[in-house]
């Protein structure tokens, strides 16, 4: 490096006579190189300056003056400078184009991203609408369920209170009837047995006056109840079946006829003559036969 620099320095300063000098050849080569580069198009003014200096060097080179090498030296530098300036301009144009391309790519990327964002937002909005609908349906369903439960509770409450009320009413009836007659619970219902000796004379179906106070109490109890009532008449075993059947039917009817005007709904009452069936005592004694002459009032269980 140092040797080269020293040689160049000396050459620059020298008053050499060689022609064409190596400096002039170098200057021509440098100018030719610059002329075939981008400086021709991009830096014609710089190239022109180099050309002027080269022309000067060519002219002064002919007389071999010490200034000739100097001029060639300057011409070479200026030609190399013009070449560098041309390449600089070319690189800057490249960079400008690349920057535009880069911006275009970024813009495209941004547009794509915005599109994707908009799409995602659309989907999100749809999902939110669907969710809101689902929640609305859920709320409706819950409200309907709550209403149903309320109605169910009300119905249950009513049923419970009706049941309680009925149980209380039945107990009231039972309590009242227990005071006046034999009461027992059977599968067919609550059975109230009224002794025939108290109600009827032998062979008759008209009620005895002595029976009225007792039947008044029965009527008062049955009036408060709402079960269906079956009134069955029975006889002892004496007499024909046909007679006993008619007699038992008449006795049941007599009881019904007594109860109906005293507040017991006739629609609830059925009567049946049972004749000598189902004796509750032996028919061989007078007491037994008296027990068998009876009327049974059956309170049929509510369905």
């Amino acid at each position: 490096m140092k040797t080269t620099i020293a040689a160049i320095l000396l050459s620059c300063l020298a008053c050499a006579t060689a022609k064409p000098s190596s400096e002039l050849l170098s200057a021509r080569a440098a100018y030719d190189k610059a002329g075939s580069g981008p400086a021709t198009e991009l830096n014609p003014a710089d190239l022109h300056d180099a050309k002027m200096l080269l022309d000067t060097a060519e002219t002064s080179g002919k007389d071999g003056s010490p200034a000739a090498l100097h001029d060639a030296y300057l011409a070479q530098r200026r030609a190399e400078l013009a070449d560098a300036q041309g390449k600089t301009s070319a690189a800057r144009k490249e960079k400008e184009a690349s920057t535009l391309r880069l911006q275009a790519l970024k813009d495209q990327s941004l547009t794509n991203t915005k599109g994707q964002l908009a799409q995602a937002q659309g989907q999100l909005a749809q999902a939110q609408v669907a969710q809101a609908q689902t929640q609305g349906q859920l709320a409706q369903s819950e409200a309907a369920q709550a209403q149903t439960q309320t109605q169910l509770a009300q119905a249950q409450g009513q049923a419970d209170s009706e049941h309680q009320g009925r149980l209380a009413a039945e107990q009231t009836t039972l309590d009242a009837l227990n005071k006046v007659a034999a009461v027992k619970q059977e599968a067919r219902g609550m059975v109230i047995t009224l002794s025939g000796s108290v109600l009827f004379a032998s062979g008759r179906s008209e009620l005895l006056p002595s029976s009225q106070s007792r039947l008044d109490q029965v009527a008062a109890a049955l009036k408060l109840d709402n079960r269906n009532i079956l009134i069955e008449g029975y006889t002892d075993s004496r007499g024909s079946d046909a007679t006993n059947q008619a007699l038992s039917q008449g006795r049941a009817q007599s009881v019904m006829n007594y109860l109906t005007p005293r507040g017991v709904d006739a629609g609830r009452i059925h009567v049946a003559g049972m004749g000598a069936a189902s004796p509750i005592s032996a028919n061989t004694t007078a007491d037994g036969r008296a027990n068998n002459r009876r009327v049974e009032i059956v309170l049929q269980p509510a369905l």
Binding site: L10, A14, R77, E80, A84, A91, S98
Partner: protein, 117 residues
């Protein structure tokens, strides 16, 4: 060797032709300013630019030596050479910078295109 002998001869001839013109103060200032400009342009970072920066500095030193020897015309020519080398150093440094910028922009495009794939 031939070159060296020629240089010696030229040197001797140059010395013989020396004339005592005015001291080239303006050209000295101009060439020194050009060297500073080249340094600021980053000529020290590019090998080719660095070479011409070094040449310019050496030529200025040579010119100062010639001035002290009353060889003002030769000193003036050396300073012209120094200015030309310094300006070339600036041009080379700018070219290197512009080329690096252009390559970097291409690299960014490549990166972006790879990222999009």
């Amino acid at each position: 060797m031939n070159r060296f002998i020629a240089a010696l001869f030229a040197s001797a001839l140059g010395a013989a032709c020396a004339t005592a013109g005015p001291i080239p103060t303006d050209r000295l200032a101009a060439s020194e300013a050009s060297v500073r400009g080249a340094q600021e342009a980053g000529a020290g970072q590019t090998p080719q630019a660095q070479l011409h920066l070094k040449l310019a500095a050496d030529e200025i030193a040579q010119a100062k030596q010639l001035i002290s020897e009353k060889k003002n015309d030769e000193a003036g020519r050396a300073l012209d050479c120094a200015k030309a080398d310094a300006e070339l150093a600036v041009g080379l440094a700018r070219e290197a910078q512009a080329r690096a910028d252009a390559n970097q922009a291409v690299e960014q495009i490549n990166l972006l295109q790879q990222g999009n794939k």
